[in-house]
Symmetry: C2
Subunit: 197 residues, 2 copies
């Protein structure tokens, strides 16, 4: 409907998660109207990030250097290892500003259906790393889904007998959450894990 | 939380309409995971579009050439001019594949509050163009909002006495629309404009 360059841009934008064909058209027009302030900086930011970003060979995080800033930081506690499914989960935990240990990014969950086995998720690397680095606690922070919990269970079994403490995130009412909108499973977990105020 | 390049990319992505901070993070990770197939092509598409896209000096459409493909196409009927607010509206009409006239993109609507006057919307250019090109019909396809209709009304008055027919889009039930979900104004308009089946 417009030039080939515009059509190509819209097609590329439509491949972003959260943008469909309609919002990709809107985004393209928005960018074209703000060529100097948005479009060219975004093009540069993408090209620069594509050129510099790599996977951390230790933990699977993404960063512009390898090992990543977290693995290379001597102030981070090497004795505590937090296992997450994806880099996005690592970022979410970092935003709490409270966790001072290190991470291990699996890159997904075990799935017999999709043919994802332990070797695809860097689980052998996790076990080897935990032993090699003298880790005392592995926190399993996979999602509270069936897949996430299956994966956590498998990792816990893999670490059995190593003397490493294996813990999981607590279940309960989200801060600010209303009981009425909460699913029964969470409410039951919160009730079972009730604490003295 | 990650490298400066990643943070900058997330900030740039978050400025796209439809993407907030959370979805920008998701989009960034999605792009990083698909560097060759998505990230680099998007960077190139943006840079190329930024370098080649310009505004059509005749109608205000965007294209890689000036005049745009529509204005330059001799098969398009020069006697019918369709006035739209934005380029996105022009694209929407083009997708119908039925309109064979030409366009005039205003770039917005009249707004006393925001200080947008007729000169900011290329309305004098529209009137001059309609007279110069011997246009016989101007279709006012501005949005069916208060601002769009105010702007259409102003344009209709500007063209009064020129002998050019001024028309507007019909109101009615959207194709596939359910009456129960329709606002009263549209339903009333559809009822008033009822036709023999």
């Amino acid at each position: 409907m417009a030039g080939a360059d515009i059509d190509r841009l819209i097609q590329r934008l439509a491949k972003l998660p959260g943008l469909g064909p309609r919002s990709a058209r809107r985004a393209a027009l928005h960018l074209i109207r703000r060529k100097e302030s948005l479009m060219e900086p975004l093009a540069r930011a993408l090209a620069e990030a594509a050129a510099t970003i790599r996977l951390c060979s230790v933990c699977g995080n993404i960063d512009t250097r390898d090992p990543c800033a977290i693995c290379a930081d001597p102030r981070r506690d090497a004795a505590t290892l937090c296992v997450v499914e994806q880099v996005a989960d690592l970022w979410a935990l970092e935003r709490t500003l409270q966790f001072k240990g290190r991470y291990h990014v699996l890159g997904g969950t075990l799935s017999a259906l999709d043919g994802v086995g332990p070797d695809d998720l860097r689980i052998p690397e996790l076990v080897a790393r935990a032993k090699r680095e003298g880790v005392s606690e592995v926190i399993l922070a996979t999602n509270a889904t069936v897949e996430g919990q299956t994966t956590a269970h498998y990792i816990a079994e893999s670490l059995a007998g190593t003397g490493i403490a294996v813990t999981g995130l607590a279940h309960g009412v989200p801060v600010g959450g209303e009981l009425d909108y909460l699913d029964d499973g969470t409410l039951l977990a919160a009730l079972k894990a009730r604490r003295t105020v």
